[in-house]
Structure formats: structure tokens, C-alpha cells
Amino acid sequence: MIVFDNVWFSYREREVLKGVSFTANFDERLAVLGESGVGKTTILKLILGLINPDKGKIIIDGTDITQLNEEEIIPIRRKFSIVFQEGALFDSLPVKENVAFFMRELLKLPDEEIYRRVRELLRRVGVEDAEELMPEELSGGMHRRVAIARALAVGKTKMFLYDEPTAGLDPVNSERIMVLIKDLADKENIGFMIITHVIYVAWQLCNRFIFLKEGQIIFDGNKDELIKTDISAVKDFIKELFFRI
């Protein structure tokens, strides 16, 4: 379980989060929504302990991670698989080495076994022909798929975290990534948290929605509550949805 208890965070003098509190189970399908710069990605980085809050507690599976050092937090981070915005592939390595990277570094498997698993993972995400390509030769959609394959490579985790998984993609590729995210969650039977500003993506994939505005949560609810909300900022945000569904 993830618990945010009155979390405050600022980048230098700019306050990004102002007393954010919420609770989420690992098996939930949760979307964190809001305009650019409201602190969505900050929440994701706080969950992973990549940054520390100015105030408040972040409790993961009963452990307050704000009190842990870089070594103590590693087991907490391993509970999550993360796909950063635009994939965060290592640009000096070809696709197969990107996917093999953490298997080699963490699992210390023999090369034969690593490459067998790499081929299997790339086939699973639908980019089996790209294993020799360099990241700069991949399209945006392929980038995300390889990043998902790499996230899967280290074994089963408790929750997937996706940072803007469809940002910059055309509708066809966005749809493919959405199908892949849903398919993985169904097959692996684990939940996910999606950081996005695209309401349609969140609607298609998630059953709980958290809206951020000016550093605070202004809405936290399910699909029914979202449709019926009276909060004008949320209503403005979901207008697009009514045209698409």
C-alpha cells in the first residue's frame, strides 16, 4: 500500500505539492491527472524515493521511506516497475542490451539465458525485430515498448508506474501502448499508476482518478464520481472525454 500523508515538496522557491494526502493499494489502476507542471511526476519520484519531501510522510508497505537512506530504500524501489516519460533508454546501448542491462547487472544470469529472455520480452511487447537497433533509430511507440520490456526484465513487481506513457505518440501508437499496458496488468495481475494529462488514456485504463491543481488534490474518485463531479476545473479537464466516449 502507498500512503501519502500531508506531503509538501518544493523545487527551490517554487512550491509544487502543498499537503498532498492519498492512499493507494498495489492492485489498483490509478491515474494521476492534471495540467503540465502541477507535480504529477513529482509524486512518482517521491513514491520511488528519488527525491525527499520537505514535509509529510510517504509510507510504502508500512515503511516510512522519507527516513531511509539510498541503500535502505532499494528493496522498496524493487516493489515497482517504472517506465519513465520517453522511455529513458540508455542511448549508448542497442535495444537488446538495454533490455539485458538489469538482468546482467542485478540477476547475474549467463549470456545465453539473458538473450533468450530478451527475445521473449521483445516478442511480448511486439518489437522483436528491433533488437539490434539503437534507441535513436526507434519510433516513439517502439521506445515505450522497449522501456516496458526492460521494466519487465527484472521479474515480477507489485505495481507498474508509467510516466506519461502516450506523450508525443500518434493515436495509433497511443492505442497500442494502452492495449499493452492493460494486457500486462491483466496477465501479471498487478496494478498500475499512470501519470498523464490525457484524460482519454486514463479513462480507458484506470478505475480511480486523482486530479491535481496548484499542488493540491482537488478530486479523488472513480468513473461514476468523475462523470458527475461539480468541480469546475475537473469538468473543464474531462470535457474532451465526452466527445470521445
Binding site: K45, L48, L50, E70, I74, R77, R78, F80, I82, F84, Q85, E86, A88, L89, F90, D91, F102, E105, L106, V154
Partner: protein
């Protein structure tokens, strides 16, 4: 930003830099060891830099020899060209010029590469999976710089002296054998030690500064430009200031007369 905040930020940066430099040494002997990364970085910062270091040192050696020949011939002391070129290159100019070329080629590259990894969330990806970026990214670069800069300096010294020889012999009509014998005469322990200890320290400083600015890159392409510029400027100033301090210490320790 107000003056007070600027001072606070500078002090915080200095503290972070100090912590990074100390961490590099403390983590050096802790597992895991990334030997492949060290070899890759040695190839990039060492053998791939030989040509540019040699080219710059050749011209510096020729220019130095030309200046000295002109001045010394007016005094009737042209035969000392080799001796003065030798001492200047081995003790001072070789290590300094090589370090400056190293800053431009390797230091700037390290900042840009690590900065781009920060902006692309690649460093965060390493941290998420429990791989320490200091051990995986910074330490191999620091080790490679500490080992390769002295090697490049020796090559640079040699090429500088060859450049000086060309001018002394073919333009200033001096004796080639006398040029080399006066240089060999100057290859004393004090001179060689004073010229070879500096690159180890310069390599460590350049790499730590470059990695520090890379790791603190923020704000997209503009931020990357700023951090690379800062890394190069800070490295140049630090190397030149350290060179003076080291020279003073070595003069005292090795018993040179001022």
C-alpha cells in the same frame, strides 16, 4: 536571485562537490567493480585523445622554441634553447596544456553525457533498480581520467619537445644532438617528478568537476549548455590555480631555488 541566495547556493554546491569527491574515494574499494566501464572510459579519454593532444602540443612546442630562439639569440645564448624548452615543457607547459586539452575534449564530454542521462531520466532508472550512479557512472570516469591524463601528458611532453626540436634545428640552425643532450641533462628526478605528479591530481579534479556539473544538470538543452560551460570554466580555473599551488609546494618539497 538575491546576493544572499547566491552565496547560499554556491556554498551548497561546494558542499555537494566536496561530498561527491569524497564519495568517489570512499566507494572506490567497495563492490561491485565495473571493470568494463573503466576500460571503455580509458579508451574514450585516453587513446581517443592522443591525436588532439599531440597536435596541440606540437604547435605549442614549436611556438615556445621559436620565441626562445629569437630572444636567446639576441643575448648570444641560443644554445640554451633546448635546456629551457625542456624544463618548461616537462615541469609546466606539458602537464598544463595537456590538462587544458583534456578539459575541452574529455571533461566537457563527461558533463554533456551525464547531463543528458539526467535529463533523460537514465540516472534515475539506474537508482530505481539499485545501481549506484556514483559507482557505475562517476567512478569509472574518474579512474580513467586519473590514469590516462598522466599517459597523455608524457606523450604531449614528447611531442612538444619534438616541435621545439624542429624549430631549433631547421629554423634556428642549432645542433640537434646538443638540443637533445641538454634536455636529457634536465631529466632529473625533481623535474620529472614535478611534471608527472600534477596530471594525476588534474585528472581527478577535472573528472570530479565534470561529473558534478553533469549530475546537477537541470532544465533541458539550455541547462545542459549552462552546466557544460560551467564545468569547462571551473575546470580551467581550478587546474591553473592548482598548478600554481602544486608548483609552490613542489618547489619547497624538492628544494628548487627561487
Amino acid at each position: 536571485m538575491s546576493m544572499g541566495n547566491q552565496i547560499k547556493k554556491t556554498l551548497a554546491d561546494l558542499q555537494d562537490f566536496y561530498l561527491l569527491s569524497i564519495n568517489c574515494i570512499l566507494k572506490l574499494f567497495k563492490r561491485p567493480f565495473y571493470f568494463d566501464d573503466i576500460i571503455e572510459q580509458m579508451e574514450y579519454s585516453g587513446s581517443a585523445s592522443v591525436f588532439i593532444v599531440s597536435l596541440v602540443c606540437l604547435f605549442v612546442g614549436m611556438a615556445l622554441s621559436l620565441q626562445l630562439s629569437a630572444e636567446l639569440s639576441g643575448l648570444g645564448l641560443k644554445m640554451y634553447t633546448g635546456k629551457i624548452v625542456g624544463i618548461a615543457v616537462i615541469r609546466e607547459i606539458g602537464p598544463l596544456v595537456t590538462a587544458l586539452v583534456f578539459i575541452g575534449r574529455v571533461g566537457a564530454g563527461q558533463t554533456a553525457e551525464i547531463g543528458s542521462m539526467i535529463l533523460g531520466n537514465q540516472i534515475d532508472t539506474l537508482r530505481v533498480y539499485g545501481i549506484d550512479p556514483i559507482k557505475k557512472i562517476v567512478i569509472p570516469r574518474v579512474i580513467a581520467s586519473v590514469l590516462m591524463l598522466p599517459c597523455l601528458t608524457i606523450i604531449g611532453d614528447l611531442v612538444c619537445l619534438i616541435g621545439g626540436y624542429y624549430i631549433a634545428v631547421f629554423m634556428s640552425n642549432q645542433s640537434g644532438s646538443f638540443y637533445w643532450s641538454s634536455i636529457i641533462e634536465d631529466l632529473t628526478f625533481q623535474n620529472v617528478f614535478s611534471g608527472t605528479i600534477k596530471p594525476f591530481i588534474f585528472g581527478y579534479l577535472i573528472s570530479c568537476i565534470s561529473c558534478f556539473y553533469g549530475l546537477t544538470t537541470r532544465g533541458g538543452a539550455k541547462g545542459l549548455r549552462t552546466s557544460t560551460t560551467k564545468a569547462v570554466v571551473t575546470s580551467i580555473v581550478t587546474v591553473i590555480a592548482t598548478d600554481f599551488i602544486l608548483t609552490r609546494i613542489l618547489f619547497y618539497a624538492l628544494g628548487f631555488n627561487v
